[in-house]
């Protein structure tokens, strides 16, 4: 994974709560066996209905998605962050995220940033008024900065470390092979195997 330290760019607002992963990437696109190429299918059904906010010219090329609470609820499909990344988003800011979705974002190098409802509201109002407003999400200092404001955000320290350094989590776990082998030896004999 490439290190992720700083995202600077314009915002796109998606002022909705409970946006589920079925909307982010509908099921018919989960039949592909690749990790890339999902961008054109992001929010497919909503965009097909016309005048979807992300298709408005003023939000083209935005790199930060600002959304409502419980973003990414529902299915565990990692295709959701893959599609958001492919579309061009490098960070998502919301008052809360579904647990599996947030974990999937970190593995994909997508910054999922939680800010209080009032601050998210400020960002949505700001981008509605001035779509060209720029924002910086700084993972190192854990800050979301724009003109005249700076918001601190909390993030799991281990996830932060992995993102900042682009760490391969499998390689990290493999370093503990001795611990894993010891654990395996101590497992109860009655535990099932599939053989």
């Amino acid at each position: 994974m490439q290190p992720v330290k700083l995202v600077t760019g314009r915002m796109a607002p998606l002022d909705l709560a409970d946006v589920d992963t079925d909307q982010i990437i509908p099921k018919q696109f989960l039949k592909r066996i690749e990790r890339t190429g999902y961008g054109p299918f992001l929010f497919y059904d909503w965009r097909a209905r016309g005048d979807f906010v992300l298709d408005r010219p003023e939000y083209a090329g935005a790199s930060v998605l600002v959304a409502g609470a419980n973003f990414g609820c529902g299915s565990s499909r990692e295709h959701a962050p893959w599609a958001l990344r492919d579309f061009g988003f490098q960070a998502i800011i919301a008052p809360s995220f579904a647990d599996i979705f947030r974990a999937n974002c970190y593995k994909t190098g997508l910054l999922a940033v939680t800010l209080p409802e009032t601050q998210v509201r400020h960002l949505i109002d700001l981008v509605a008024e001035d779509p060209s407003a720029e924002l910086t999400v700084d993972l190192q200092s854990q800050q979301v900065r724009g003109e005249g404001f700076s918001y601190h955000f909390e993030i799991d320290p281990f996830a932060r470390e992995c993102l900042l350094n682009g760490l391969d989590e499998i390689a990290l776990v493999e370093r503990h092979d001795a611990n894993i082998a010891a654990y395996e030896k101590g497992r109860a004999a009655w535990l099932p195997t599939v053989r």
Partner: protein, 458 residues
């Protein structure tokens, strides 16, 4: 220190613990299916890694299998995904229950059936409804594809500690009320995200009184209120379900396992961060009206007035007006199936309502058993004949219309009474409208052609 069941299960799986890092947990069973695994296997192959414990991994085809016509009825991309799974399992030595085989079925139905799901285990799968297995007193949760790759490679998963919640259910379930109504009623109260960051234990005399099937239905929908996992402490109901299953311990091993399993309860003075009390005696049959499982009311009620933009959006999508009596909503389709409600007991409950009646002429109804084994067992009891005589389609096992990744989908605008777990926009087919409910409620809707209180038909 007094511990909750969840923390006992967690602690028993810690391979390594270090300050400032997530715990490294050992996975006892990794369930694999065709949709969320191809990129994980490919990642392994590109990095020159092998599956560490193929003996603790098992695969099935469920999400995109056609429920009639076999693999030939699948579209090219679905077939390709099934072929890729077959090849990945062959190369890595992972047993695969493929389409057409005796044990094929929905991943969360076959794990328990095979006796691979047992108390005390840590179980993961690239599917959010993995919480189902918590019904056995296991710690079970869904993971993404990168985590699938990590588990394939190391059999471990780094996880941050979670909080503890208890849902305490008391009171006798009235006639016509099921486990599905307990969990729908719960989600209606908590909303879609109250469980975030928590492991939930469902407890109390009503939960103790549920069969394993009922407990699985409740645990299955834990994710719909945001919980990391849901579980029920194992007891004699659990043990008698597991005993004799193909992979269950036998002889002396059974006795040892049983000794351990009996210790898997929350200590009396264990601390929960929150307790939610539910009086099951006051429950009514529940039906969703909106596009999240939390948008739910008793079937005796009316479509509520919107309280948020989310509610307004749901009403528009569902084409419903506030104040409409639920019982006045006509339906086009009925789906009895899914990892939530397609086990033998669910089919029996639905058949009990249908016996001697006919599906409404305007309704197309189908039953999709959760597994090939469930299908066989149901046929041995003659349940298939009850459904077919009433005008139901009797299909082969799979996820089917729960998520519409296969030929079973709603047409745009169609309204479905469904025993599945999600009523999201387009979930059962683009433009389709889903009302979630229990199997007896869906059966009743099939007969009357509209949403109806099943108690009127009992």
């Amino acid at each position: 220190m007094a511990k909750t069941l969840a923390q006992k299960l967690w602690d028993a799986h810690v391979v390594r613990s270090a300050e400032g890092e997530p715990d490294l947990l050992f996975v006892d069973l990794h369930l694999v299916h065709e949709v969320t695994s191809p990129q994980a296997f490919e990642g392994l192959r590109l990095a020159g890694r092998k599956v560490r414990r193929p003996d603790l991994s098992v695969a099935t085809m469920d999400h995109n299998v056609p429920t009639r016509g076999g693999v030939r009825a699948a579209d090219d991309m679905s077939r390709k995904q099934m072929e890729v799974l077959t090849e990945n399992c062959r190369r890595e030595g992972i047993p695969l229950h493929q389409i057409g085989s005796r044990r094929q079925g929905i991943v969360h139905v076959i794990g328990p059936e095979l006796g691979l799901t047992q108390p005390g285990m840590l179980i993961v799968c690239g599917d959010s409804h993995t919480s189902t297995h918590g019904a056995f007193g296991a710690l079970a949760f869904g993971i993404g594809t990168s985590e699938v790759e990590l588990v394939l490679a190391t059999q471990c998963l780094p996880q941050k500690r979670q909080g503890d919640l208890a849902v305490n259910v008391t009171g006798e379930l009235p006639v016509g009320i099921t486990a599905k109504d307990i969990v729908l009623g719960l989600i209606g109260r908590t909303g879609t995200s109250a469980g975030q960051g928590h492991l939930v234990e469902y407890r109390g005399p009503t939960i103790r009184g549920l069969s394993m099937e009922g407990r699985m239905t409740v645990c299955n929908m834990s994710i719909e209120w945001g919980a990391k996992a849901g579980m029920v402490a194992p007891d004699d109901t659990t043990f008698s379900y597991v005993e004799g299953k193909p992979h269950a311990p036998k002889g002396a091993a059974w006795e040892k396992a049983l000794d351990h399993w009996r210790s898997l309860t929350s200590d009396e003075d264990a601390h929960f961060d929150g307790v939610i009390d539910i009086d099951a005696g006051k429950l009514e049959p529940h039906v969703t009206w909106g596009t999240t499982p939390a948008q739910v009311v008793p079937v005796t009620g009316r479509v509520p007035s919107p309280r948020s933009e989310t509610d307004e959006r749901a009403l528009r999508y569902m084409d419903l007006l506030p104040g409409t009596a639920l019982a006045d909503i006509a339906i086009d389709r009925v789906f009895i199936g899914s990892c939530t409600n397609a086990r033998l007991e669910d089919l029996r409950a639905a058949a009990g309502v249908i016996q001697g009646r006919r599906v409404h002429p305007k309704v197309r109804a189908m039953v999709v058993p959760g597994s090939t084994s469930v299908k066989r067992a149901a046929e041995e009891e003659g349940l298939d004949l009850v459904f077919k005589a009433a005008g139901f389609e009797w299909r082969n096992a799979g996820c089917s219309m729960c998520l519409g990744m296969n030929p079973d989908i709603l047409a745009p605008g169609e309204r479905c009474a469904s025993t599945s777990n999600r009523n999201f926009e387009g979930r059962q087919g683009s433009g389709g409208r889903t009302h979630l409910m229990s199997p007896p409620m869906a059966a009743a809707a099939a007969i009357t052609g509209h949403l109806v209180d099943v108690r009127e038909l009992l």
